[in-house]
């Protein structure tokens, strides 16, 4: 099985984990990574910069209809939902929040699941609500690989526990093991 895209969802307690993942992936890690992270409504600027500090990969907040390229990390912009259109580009929308969240992890995961099918890896990290559980189940149903951070390691377990209950996830792993798995899957890819 060769995976081509990674999507990561997280909320409270996920920022450090995402930073660690980005710091541990090498510059030649080619799979595009989509980040759908909840943030405070007013924290609209500075997030890309904070994630970029330790990342070897370029982190951007995409524009609507932006083409998706390898070696890049796409952070869902604050106050937009992020979709994945056929033809390999991003679509944004400002429709109302889902699960009190915009970006909504469910929307992005379900959209990526439908577009990328078995080429997709979905990862749910620490978080304080149930957003992402439905989205991860859609990834599973469409043949993608599902990974959830071990709830025991999460600052807040709600999101990961909900994801584990929603679908038969492929891996429940500590953050370091998630990184090792991604590196292994990337090498298989070549």
């Amino acid at each position: 099985m060769s995976y081509k895209y990674i999507i990561i969802g997280g909320s409270a307690g996920s920022f450090q984990t995402v930073t660690n993942i980005l710091a541990s992936l090498p510059q030649d890690f080619s799979m595009p990574i989509f980040l759908c992270l909840h943030r405070l409504k007013h924290v609209r600027a500075g997030f890309v910069e904070a994630l970029s500090i330790k990342s070897n990969l370029k982190v951007i907040e995409p524009n609507d209809k932006e083409y998706i390229r390898q070696h890049k990390v796409y952070l869902a912009p604050a106050n937009y939902h992020m979709y994945f259109e056929l033809g390999n580009y991003i679509g944004l929308s400002t429709e109302q929040a889902v699960n009190h969240s915009r970006p909504s992890i469910d929307i992005s995961f379900a959209s990526a699941a439908y577009t990328y099918k078995s080429k997709l890896i979905g990862i749910i990290l620490s978080g304080a609500n149930k957003d992402g559980a439905y989205g991860l189940s859609q990834i599973k149903e469409n043949g993608g690989l599902t990974i959830v951070q071990d709830p025991e390691e999460c600052q807040v377990k709600t999101m990961t526990s909900a994801a584990i209950s929603a679908t038969n996830v492929d891996h429940v792993l500590k953050a370091n093991d998630i990184i090792q798995l991604l590196l292994k899957l990337q090498n298989k890819h070549f």
């Binding site: 995409p62 524009n63 609507d64 400002t94 429709e95 109302q96 959209s111």
Partner: protein, 280 residues
């Protein structure tokens, strides 16, 4: 409720042949989600929804209102308004008139943001403002200029950033009271825009996709924010062409901060900060 690509095509075809609306070139992913939402809201499966479209014109109007997105706020993205205030609007100070079109004005918050800013710059009297939207209900709200207070506290943070503070000089603080523009009734949870602003715009129900520029004039400034994200690239190009033809030389186009002009039309505009300017 999940629908297939075929369901969506049938829905679009039914709307097209039973009304003036054409959703053929909307972004597929977000449009599909809106239809799924409408099915949920109206409690109809896709076949029943299509049947209603074919048999009930009033339902089509209700559906269009349901599926179009109306998110807006006062001075959304203060940085974009800073560019407008400090780099752009001065160029119009010698104009006899400033023609402005808010395309997809939704409930009017950005129309009022612009009027407030123009007033602060002493340009309000020159402004000739048209505001349009596909959805009559949001225009009604826009005309009333009444918004909930508690839910919209960030309006005032944005107002402070754009109207009171100067990002280029932190020692400046323009002590503009909110009461200059709003009546704030905390008990009834209402922000009401003052009449001198409310009476200014001319409001139109208007479909950007099928009707183009209906105003018999060109514009100095077109504001169309987070509307084109719902269109595919082909339709975006068509609308950018309309805007280009509708702007005066050096005319200004303000779109959403995560939108961009793509394709050949981008060569016809210069970019200043987050704002596009039509080339000579």
């Amino acid at each position: 409720m999940q629908v297939t690509a075929d369901d969506i095509n049938r829905t679009i075809a039914a709307i097209k042949s039973n009304s003036s609306y054409d959703f053929s070139n909307y972004s597929i992913k977000s449009f599909t989600r809106r239809i799924e939402k409408a099915m949920f809201d109206f409690k109809l499966d896709i076949d029943k929804l299509i049947k209603r479209i074919k048999t009930d014109n009033l339902f089509i109007e209700a559906l269009v209102k349901n599926i179009t997105v109306n998110t807006t706020e006062l001075f959304r993205d203060p940085k974009a308004w800073h560019t407008l205030r400090y780099k752009i609007l001065n160029q119009f100070s010698e104009n006899r008139k400033i023609n402005i079109w808010h395309a997809g004005c939704s409930t009017g918050q950005e129309v009022y943001s612009m009027l407030i800013l123009l007033n602060e710059l002493g340009l309000l009297e020159k402004a000739n403002v048209f505001a349009s939207d596909i959805n009559e209900d949001v225009i009604k709200t826009a005309k009333e200029g009444e918004y909930t207070y508690r839910f919209n506290l960030e309006y005032f943070e944005n107002f402070d950033k754009v109207i009171r503070e100067n990002p280029f000089n932190y020692e400046v603080l323009n002590d503009v009271p909110y009461s200059k523009y709003f009546e704030i009734d905390k008990i009834n949870d209402v922000i009401k825009i003052h009449d001198f602003l409310r009476k200014k715009p001319v409001w139109f129900k208007h479909d950007l996709v099928t009707e183009g520029n209906i105003f018999n004039t060109k514009f100095d400034l077109i504001v169309c924010r987070n509307v084109l994200i719902y269109f595919n690239t082909e339709l975006q190009s068509h609308v950018f062409e309309t805007f280009y033809q509708s702007l005066f030389r050096k005319g200004v186009l303000m779109i959403g901060i995560h939108e961009s002009i793509i394709g050949s039309m981008s060569n016809n505009f210069d970019k200043s900060g987050l704002i596009y300017i039509k080339k000579d």
